[in-house]
Symmetry: C2
Subunit: 316 residues, 2 copies
């Protein structure tokens, strides 16, 4: 047990939340994290409403612990995902993108604990004003969609903690016990972890994508598409084309045309390492195995405690 | 006292080093940090060799504590700065840019402790192989010149700590006691702080620049000039012109032409907020005062200890 306001709020043993990463986050991954003492989220971003509903139900059969969901609010299918989560009475709902005012009150009235994702301290304050139970503050090092302000977890967490009184979950660049300890040192009361759980046995991502990420060097990811929708992704031939187009001054619309449709699925779920979009966090460069979620959590908690105990005190 | 291998190595009370920030780091600022129990560096990057020598000598008259220097190795005047530091028998030498192999052995033979700045874990390993006493690992959130790989302090520190056995100083995004605690949690044994000390009474920067940074919002800085020499700077009309040129695909040479000569001096030292380059870290957005260096260090150490004591333990 590692007790913070987050573990009290959610009724879990460790303040470790598995994000709703696209193309990774089905019932199997989410329930594995919940069963191991954290909280797993079924990720609505890459599901149609029927699949989302079936994965929520399946997760509930795989563990007696709570399992949550993540719903990005700006997608075409978002209103239907919201309806599904409401009808299924999901106990914990994380919303991202869009406004935290949109559904927070409804989900809370429906009995859920509600979190929203922010990438600036100012957004975190807005989330609190909207009545959320907690805020995920996600730094620039995170994989996938990314804040335009490029605030890193080190700066964003410490700043948001000065301004917000609901509990914070730090996200972006968190994969180890030392990083969990750093997040709590900065004033967060838990973490949301993406990449580390994307690279586990239970992740729904394609095995080729997982192995490619595990083999990645520290400089393998960069944020591209800043003119439209900033996304951190792995280096591959497709990303090279985007970077070349950006260097010659391609417009946002031209970039969207190069991006086309369906590349995240093609890369992360179907394993096309050449033409797919491969979304992963900067922390991929320091990971080199594909353990189970239970092994991940056990290792993080043990490293946290070892590192905590040797932090030097101030003395005379 | 906050004892780590860094305080043992340098004979100081707190593992807090003031970087050699251009146009801020004269004898007054460097000696103030050393006198308060940290280690200040006289910054050679914005000095000619004669001024550098006189500031080193002046700093030694202002405190009986050690004062170090920072020398960027890729500037026109760099060889002469190296000669000055050697002749003056400066006790602690930080080198940055260029190769750590270049002068480490010479400075060590000359009696100095030597650090080199790295922006990737792989560079940190190279520094260790070159025989340095310690490595500064500087994340993307840092002000001024910046690594092309964009590794943040959260990821870079934890990764480098796994690969390197000499003590590490985390830099980039560190300004408060919580951030010092996070750096030590990640495996560093001290920090190098720039922006927080640039915004002090003793900093040589122009008052207008200091007040502009103190008023900054969290999104005020961005890294630009990535095609040539990535630099994090404050938003101002000059930076807007750079960003516009980059958006239309301007070449690296064209960008250098827009940059011209002398803009950092013009902005940071002469206080031209419109046409100068205003280099500062992302952390500027969370600072709102201009204290003395002694006040900064006292506050950081107190906050460190308060936050350390309440880090939750792992229990059954």
């Amino acid at each position: 047990m590692l007790k913070t306001r987050i573990t009290d709020l959610l009724g879990i043993r460790y303040p470790i939340i598995k994000g709703g990463m696209a193309w990774c986050s089905g019932a199997k991954l989410a329930s594995a994290v919940s069963a191991a003492g954290g909280l797993g989220l079924v990720g609505g971003g890459s599901m149609d409403p029927d699949l989302f509903r079936s994965q929520i139900r399946k997760a509930a059969t795989l563990t007696d612990k709570p399992v949550g969901v993540n719903i990005p609010l700006t997608f075409k299918q978002s209103p239907d995902l919201v309806t599904v989560a409401k009808e299924e009475k999901v106990p914990v709902v994380f919303t991202s993108a869009g406004s935290p005012k949109r559904h927070t009150a409804m989900f809370k009235d429906n009995g859920a604990k509600v979190f929203h994702v922010a990438s600036t301290p100012e957004q975190a304050v807005k989330c609190e004003k909207a009545g959320v139970d907690g805020v995920v503050i996600e730094g620039y090092e995170a994989g996938g969609h990314n804040g335009r302000e490029e605030l890193t977890t080190m700066v964003l967490t410490a700043h948001a903690a000065k301004l917000v009184s609901v509990p914070l979950l730090a996200a972006g660049g968190i994969a180890t016990g030392r990083q969990l300890l750093a997040a709590l040192a900065l004033g967060a009361e838990g973490v949301q972890i993406g990449s580390r759980f994307a690279m586990t046995k239970e992740s729904a991502a394609h095995q080729k994508f997982k192995e490619f990420c595990v083999a990645a060097q520290s400089d393998a990811t960069l944020v591209v598409l800043k003119k439209k929708i900033p996304v951190r992704m792995m280096d591959n031939p497709f990303r090279e084309r985007i970077i070349e187009a950006e260097a010659r001054g391609a417009s946002g619309d031209e970039l969207l045309e190069i991006l086309g449709e369906g590349r995240p699925r093609q890369g992360m779920f179907e394993g096309d390492l050449t033409e797919g979009v491969l979304e992963i966090g900067q922390v991929a460069g320091m990971l080199d195995d594909l353990p189970t979620c239970a092994e991940v959590i056990k290792k993080i908690v043990a490293e946290y405690e070892r590192a905590r105990r040797v932090l030097p005190p101030v003395s005379e």
